[in-house]
């Protein structure tokens, strides 16, 4: 992991030659940490993480803790969900799918909100970490959306008698899933990370403007075409014996998301550093015959 804690190459910049200029141009997509003295201590502590190297070492230190917390929370959540929570008087044991389904659905939406916030960071402040965050969140969001759809389908078979119904919520989630796939496709179609970052940020924001419209129109469409074909049990206030396991499960899933997101961001940082190193090596090989060390 030595490569992670290395100093930013700009710190050891030599007098500008053609190579170092090129390298600086490549590195300049990672701005230097801003050390504003007038800002508050907490703010500067957070903004100091905008430096990729510092963030990488922070992620290195935080990851084992996040993984540990996730494991403990999952053990508690599984115990509560499988042994403590009573079976539903109508749905029987199948209600336990809820402890996977609901947290997945919550994270599916949370990941998009996170990506929209990160996209603002990309477009307004040009934060390199913001794009790393958005990129790492997209497959996670897609995976949790898929998990919510799949568990919903498994739950729907005994409840509704069909693997799939064009229920408003299911349809909205299917569209969300397609939007995640579109974002990932756009990302993979662009080779240069900084271009891909801006394009994905714009698409994410356009999507976030559209998501309420889509949600509203799908709800409207569903009531138009399927008046009350899916009878929802009138929701009584949820009993604490189910609510508490559900909340613990939601916490566990959120911790899992945080862990995976941190790991994904760290991997992405390493990948970008590797790409930069490759580019500088290639530039060194092609631009100058002189030994560059």
């Amino acid at each position: 992991m030595g490569v992670l804690t290395d100093d930013d190459p700009r710190a050891t910049a030599k007098p500008p030659s053609a190579i170092t200029k090129r390298a600086q141009r490549v590195w300049s997509c990672w701005p230097a940490p801003t050390d504003r003295t007038d800002s508050m201590a907490l703010l500067s502590a957070i903004t100091s993480l905008a430096n990729p190297s510092r963030f990488a070492s922070f992620a290195d230190r935080a990851l084992p803790w996040a993984a540990g917390v996730t494991a403990v929370l999952f053990a508690a959540a599984l115990y509560l969900a499988l042994f403590v929570a009573p079976p539903d008087y109508q749905q029987g044991e199948t209600v336990r799918i809820m402890f996977i389904h609901v947290p997945s659905a919550w994270l599916a939406m949370f990941a998009y909100v996170l990506m929209a916030a990160a996209s603002l960071g990309v477009l307004i402040w040009r934060h390199p970490i913001a794009d790393v965050s958005a990129k790492a969140a997209a497959p996670l969001g897609a995976a949790f959306t898929f998990l919510a759809l799949a568990t919903g389908s498994l739950w729907g078979k005994p409840m509704w008698g069909a693997w799939w119904v064009w229920d408003a919520r299911l349809t909205s989630f299917l569209i969300l899933f397609l939007m995640y796939l579109g974002l990932m496709a756009l990302r993979s179609a662009m080779e240069e990370p900084s271009r891909a970052a801006k394009a994905c940020a714009i698409l994410t924001l356009v999507g976030s403007v559209n998501i309420p419209i889509i949600k509203f129109s799908v709800d409207w469409w569903n009531t138009l075409h399927q008046p009350a074909s899916v009878i929802r049990a009138g929701k009584p206030t949820m009993d604490a014996s189910i609510l508490i396991p559900l909340l613990v499960a939601a916490l566990a899933f959120t911790a899992l998301f945080t862990t995976l997101h941190l790991a994904g961001m760290r991997t992405e940082l390493i990948r970008r550093r590797l790409r930069t190193l490759r580019l500088t090596t290639a530039a060194r090989a092609t631009l100058s015959p002189e030994p560059a060390e």
Binding site: G182, L186, S217
Partner: protein, 217 residues
């Protein structure tokens, strides 16, 4: 008539007249022709689903022409000139969207009643479809411009742009089909559709211009 906007509009219309402008219409006709083969030549059934088929065909025909909306300008350097022009990029993109709609969307609107007759859609419903298409296709063109701007210069942009844009076009489809429903008494869905079109008329040029600016270098 010498403003940059009029110039962009005139140029795009002239280019569309030069070649391939009617291709979207042929594609639309093909979708209409293929449907009876898929569901059977039962006119009663076709009449029931006719407006939905017309909407699907229009949606696909509008999105298929997208890859040329900005790609050609990107290749011949026209986009660079637009970046340098004194007029705002947003307005020029809006002019391009208008030209794109005039050459691909408007023919669909005009042809929709004819195709409706072929599918056995009743006269009143046919007019409703045409009205809904007239309001809805500009919204599709504006959304499509965002997809075109995001994928400009990419090798697989032609397939990528519809994949990005089609999920966002679902509200237009929902309210477009609802506004085409002959049984509906109110004009509520048509009003919502018009609202969507106006909203996307704002969002489309701004988001496209932002994408073009950011992705320029």
């Amino acid at each position: 008539m010498s403003s940059p906007l009029a110039a962009v509009l005139r140029r795009d219309l002239a280019l569309a007249r030069g070649g391939g402008g009617g291709l979207g219409l042929v594609f639309f006709l093909l979708v209409v022709t293929l449907t009876p083969f898929a569901v059977g030549p039962d006119l009663a059934l076709l009449g029931r689903i006719g407006s939905a088929i017309l909407w699907l065909g229009a949606l696909l025909a509008t999105l298929l022409g997208l890859d040329r909306l900005l790609q050609a300008d990107h290749e011949d350097g026209g986009l660079d000139l637009m970046h340098l022009a004194p007029a705002s990029l947003e307005l020029m993109i809006a002019a391009k969207i208008l030209a794109h709609w005039l050459t691909t969307g408007l023919p669909l609107v005009i042809a929709a009643p004819l195709f409706g007759v072929m599918l056995g859609v009743g006269p009143e419903a046919t007019l409703k479809v045409a009205a809904a298409l007239a309001v809805g296709t500009p919204a599709l063109a504006c959304l499509g411009a965002v997809g075109a701007a995001l994928t400009v210069g990419l090798r697989r942009g032609g397939l990528l742009a519809p994949v990005l844009i089609l999920p966002l076009a679902i509200p237009v489809l929902i309210f477009g089909v609802a506004a085409s429903d002959p049984a509906a008494e109110t004009v509520g869905p048509l009003g919502v559709l018009a609202g969507l079109a106006l909203g996307y008329a704002v969002l489309g040029p701004f988001a496209s211009a932002a994408a073009l600016r950011l992705l320029r270098d």
